[in-house]
Assembly symmetry: C2
Homo-oligomer: 460 residues x 2
């Protein structure tokens, strides 16, 4: 029986243009992260299963891909390894493992795929890349300002002119729930419901509050807080100070808002007291980069307790995760990629008319490649040129070089400009220079079609 040829459910094969788009975005991300003093880190695709279990809540546990024991233990049906589910838990493990080698202030970025057994849906995959940056070792709001500065610089460089950064604080969120009268035991339920405010609106959240047993008066009051708050930072801070005078979280937000003005995130901040971002491990600032009509492009926050799960003592940390797939989808839809990113292909196709000319063809290709040109040798002798020309066209080549017995006898090469369809014979030792001039003359366009009626002139 022939095996299937589809990739596994929820995963994708990445063809050349997909990879080039991703490499372009990753290149920008990496360049900015490095200028902000972050260092690259990578961890293995799988971890010991105990490293991951229990870190992502009950729902997360179910979505982790687990790897069967091997050899004689395979029959037990037990798993001892699990695929990376995010980049934060492996980071926490690394910080604990290398605590004596890493600097007290450790700034790292990590760009790797993660795997989640979510139900696949449009734009949601079981294998996808995360681009994380995290700074460990300091509680200073300078860290949040730097993280938001880096993320904003990336989005600006990629061409997003319309993004905002939503900002909240875990303890402000809790304090508002408290003064609304939501019982502490119900804060988790309230946050899950609030997280949907964008999607289901205030009425929807109110329904979910009551479904989760939150007292109606408290729910109404909480919703008033979360929908009445002004978004622009100055007025939002005034409003928050009115409700929570002297609150540490408000002071922290005020410091971040002020510092961010000295970074590329200046003017982007919107305070949003309802922003929760699901994750229970945030302890301070909560952040999200979003575009109107598109939604979140990534998010993060401060998590001062997580690393302690591995290290036994707390290490303050703040991080941000950019959604690479989302960025690529939006940039593709909005045609934000420079034309040079995709297309690939080659500059020149070298072809030969008889097997005796193969060495000549390879030799010219070697010369052109030494000059940084992309070159294909059409590998089969062709007396007719329809196949090589079709191939050259499919690869976007602008020039075709041709070797046959006439050329060989005279020590020449025939060079065809595939855009003008002009063909010329030049001495063999000048062929590379001649092609270089042709390539420097005209900008390259994609998929120029050779006119077939001209092919006849190519035949000997």
């Amino acid at each position: 029986m022939m095996p299937g040829t589809q990739p596994a459910r929820g995963t994708r094969d990445f063809l050349p243009d997909d990879i080039r788009r991703r490499e372009y975005v990753v290149g920008v991300v990496r360049d900015v992260y490095e200028r902000y003093g972050f260092e690259p880190l990578e961890t293995p695709a799988f971890e010991n299963i105990d490293t991951l279990l229990g870190k992502y809540g009950e729902e997360g546990n179910k979505l982790i891909f687990k790897i069967l024991k091997r050899g004689e233990h395979e029959a037990s049906g037990e798993a001892d390894l699990a695929l990376r589910y995010d980049l934060t838990v492996p980071l926490a493990r690394v910080v604990a493992q290398y605590q004596n080698e890493l600097p007290r202030l450790f700034k790292r970025y990590q760009i790797q795929p993660v795997w989640r057994a979510d139900r696949p849906a449009r734009g949601r995959f079981r294998e996808f890349y995360q681009c994380d940056l995290d700074a460990m070792g300091s509680t200073s709001p300078v860290v949040e300002a730097e993280v938001l500065g880096a993320v904003s610089e990336i989005l600006t460089t990629l061409g997003f002119s319309d993004f905002v950064v939503r900002l909240n604080h875990r303890r402000v969120l809790t304090a508002l729930l408290e003064i609304a009268g939501v019982a502490a035991a119900q804060h988790g339920d309230a946050l899950v419901a609030l997280d949907k405010l964008d999607k289901i609106g205030a009425e929807g959240v109110a329904k979910e509050f009551s479904a989760r047993g939150i007292a109606e008066a408290a729910g109404v009051k909480a919703l008033t807080f979360f929908t009445a708050a002004p978004a622009l930072p100055e007025s939002a801070l005034t409003w928050l100070t009115g409700l929570l005078a002297g609150h540490e979280g408000v002071a922290n937000l005020a410091a971040i808002v002020r510092l961010v003005e000295s970074t590329p995130a200046a003017g982007r901040i919107r305070l949003d007291p309802s922003l929760a971002r699901g994750l229970s491990y945030y302890t301070g600032a909560i952040m999200e980069a979003a575009v109107e009509g598109i939604g979140s492009l990534g998010g993060g926050g401060r998590y001062d307790d997580l690393i302690g799960m591995f290290l036994g003592r707390d290490v303050p940390a703040c991080g941000f995760s950019l959604g690479l797939e989302r960025l690529i989808v939006v940039m593709t839809e909005r045609e934000m990629f420079p034309p040079s990113v995709t297309g690939g292909g080659v500059d020149v196709v070298v072809t030969f008319m008889d097997d005796e000319s193969r060495g000549e063809a390879l030799g010219l290709a070697t010369e052109l490649r030494a000059q940084e040109r992309r070159v294909d040798v059409f590998p089969e002798a062709s007396r007719k040129f329809d196949k090589p020309l079709k191939y050259a066209s499919s690869r976007g080549a602008r020039v075709m070089a041709i070797f046959g017995e006439n050329e060989r006898a005279r020590g020449e090469a025939s060079i065809r400009n595939l855009q003008t369809r002009e063909q010329q014979t030049v001495p063999r030792d000048q062929a590379a220079a001649f092609i270089a001039r042709l390539l420097n003359q005209e900008p390259r366009t994609k998929n120029q079609e050779p006119r077939t009626e001209n092919l006849r002139t190519l035949e000997p």
Copy 2:
């Protein structure tokens, strides 16, 4: 209980210098592959288990990491997915899946990790990168010449001046076994033993021949062939022609040897009739790049039948796989990496003496980063400079900028050259330009230590 902090057995965490070394090699590989007209391809980390099972022999089946079914099916202990074991089988699947979209000549490269549950050993890991290039759609020896040209150009660019390319042909190997009198049914056994010729010598192979039941006379004769063959291509071809006049495999080798002379593999070829490279799917040329005293850096060959397992019709193909880990280990031992590859770190550390100066510090960092400089802001106010200086030293910074209340009051910044230990106060709006001049003046060296007796002068 605190979870362990080690990476899973046989895997590694990649710290910054590890990643920079790998990125350097991958950058060279990618650049050369693209100049040879190969396009990037990537496939998912896991495949449907049926895609992989049965493709790597009985031993391979055992070494495949298998992923447990999820949800209610988890308890069954069954696996439905498996981690990528090499890059060739996924390629064959892709060619079958996208046969109508891909050109008839399809040249792709793929640089991704693979996973094998081998017993870990020094330099042998369960997660490692492969760098494959494959050309599909043509049986022309031009393809082999192009593949060997690209691999040779990579090794030369990386600084290997002493490599050779061992070359053999599957059908020549079989023909030699035949005329030695080894029964066809024992060719597989003979190849397994022959593959160890380098490691265990002719005597060892002879023992293994007899242990595997190969007739002594045939074994002795075969060994004579495989050890007596001259290595240099011209004499080896003459020798082979004497034994196997008119053999198609010999003619193919002769064509490859001649064509390679027009590529960067010129002068590198050594014919080696004993080269088998284990894999049973080779149908034509078998190739290996090797360095004296170090061994194989990668290998490949022609496999015209493998893709047919997925496609139902054969597609000729020829490929080569470079061992990235091996390259990195050897290059590290031989100190072949340019000094600029590792080190990382930053150019400038900006520090502040009081919280009121944080915005100034971030603002200067933003200016410097806009000029492509790598900059860290030491996130905590420090009246004493031992901590920031120690940090700046650990990050390899050459300049430290300092903001305190004096600087703020006078609209200035203090700039310290960490190499000369000279410190100077400049107007705030000239600080970035002043630092740029300092950084352009002197080459950066690693780990310069500030003299602590000078620190006192920094304090207000």
